[in-house]
Amino acid sequence: MSNAATFDTRTEANIPVESPLAYSYHRSGAPAPSAKSRVILRERPFLGHLVLRGGAIVLDEAVRAVLGFGLPARPNTLSQSEDGARSIQWLSPDEWLLIVPGGEEFELEGALRNALGDAHYAIVNVSGGQTLLELSGEKARELLMKSTPSDVHPEAFPVGKGVTAVFAKANLILRRPAENRWELVLRRSFADYCYRWLLDAGAEYAIGVEK
């Protein structure tokens, strides 16, 4: 829809870029994973994050046409491309979070806007404001139990679920794309607090940070 402004935030490759955790690594360090680590933390910075707003039916059609897979059918779930590199998460009845490999977001936004034509919708690029952390390891779930009142028991939080959750005294998006992997989508300004919380709460599990 030409009535909204799109903005390509990409730069030449030689421009330095910092993830939301850059300061945290500098200040708090990143304990290397060891054989004793029962939780592993890994940041996946610089991904493309788009917020989709609008009606499920038109958005689903457009998303299918552009990405080859549709919106998640149920509240609080996510759908993923076959290779898992692209995902769409339900955030509210008219809001979804689309995460794609970094650098794809601008063309994807354009393609979706093309496909959507005159429909009522909105697309907002929030890539600079969020980062994604992966948690794995046998104690990942217990670490989450220390941090969020959301029920992360496998019965209540099966693979493919994703919710907005209270996390310590902040909030974030919590999702479980695979049996043994959790993902936390953090807002940039809260990233350091959440990172320090994870290191502190994970200390008894010898948490390691993969970089």
Binding site: P75, P93, S150, T164, A165, N171
Partner: protein, 130 residues
């Protein structure tokens, strides 16, 4: 710490995710300029404070960010139903008094908070009020 069924997320979530926003079903007058000062003051400042059934506006702030309504008992703190914006409550002080629930209005699916269904909840609340 309430446990609240979000009618949009379709599951129970912890109270920490929600914020109460006061009495539900307060409608802004369509033509504010036509209101007397007293009418406008009523709209702005005056709210019910019942002992018993209360309809409240809540927002799922850490969640879908949607506003919705809650029918809550102010003595037992029991939440009898939650329903979406634009819908009407099925359980009201009047319906309890007359022993009926309104059958012909749209009600949020799965919104019943009570363990054993709405009728039991109604009975329980009636007992409480008696």
């Amino acid at each position: 710490m309430f446990h609240i069924y979000c009618p949009y997320c379709e599951e129970h979530r912890e109270e920490e995710e929600f914020r109460p926003k006061g009495q539900a079903h307060i409608v802004r007058p369509k033509d504010p300029e036509a209101c007397s000062d007293e009418e406008w003051g009523d709209y702005l400042f005056f709210r019910d404070n019942p002992r018993g059934i209360h309809h409240e506006l809540w927002v799922h702030a850490v969640g879908c960010r949607k506003f919705f309504n809650v029918t809550r008992h102010t003595v037992t703190y029991e939440i009898l139903e939650t329903y979406k914006m634009g819908e009407q409550p099925r359980i009201t002080a009047e319906s309890l008094a007359s022993g009926e629930t309104q059958g012909n209005v749209q009600v949020a699916g799965g919104g019943q908070q009570t363990v054993s269904g709405s009728n039991a909840a109604v009975e329980a609340v009636k007992g409480e009020q008696a």
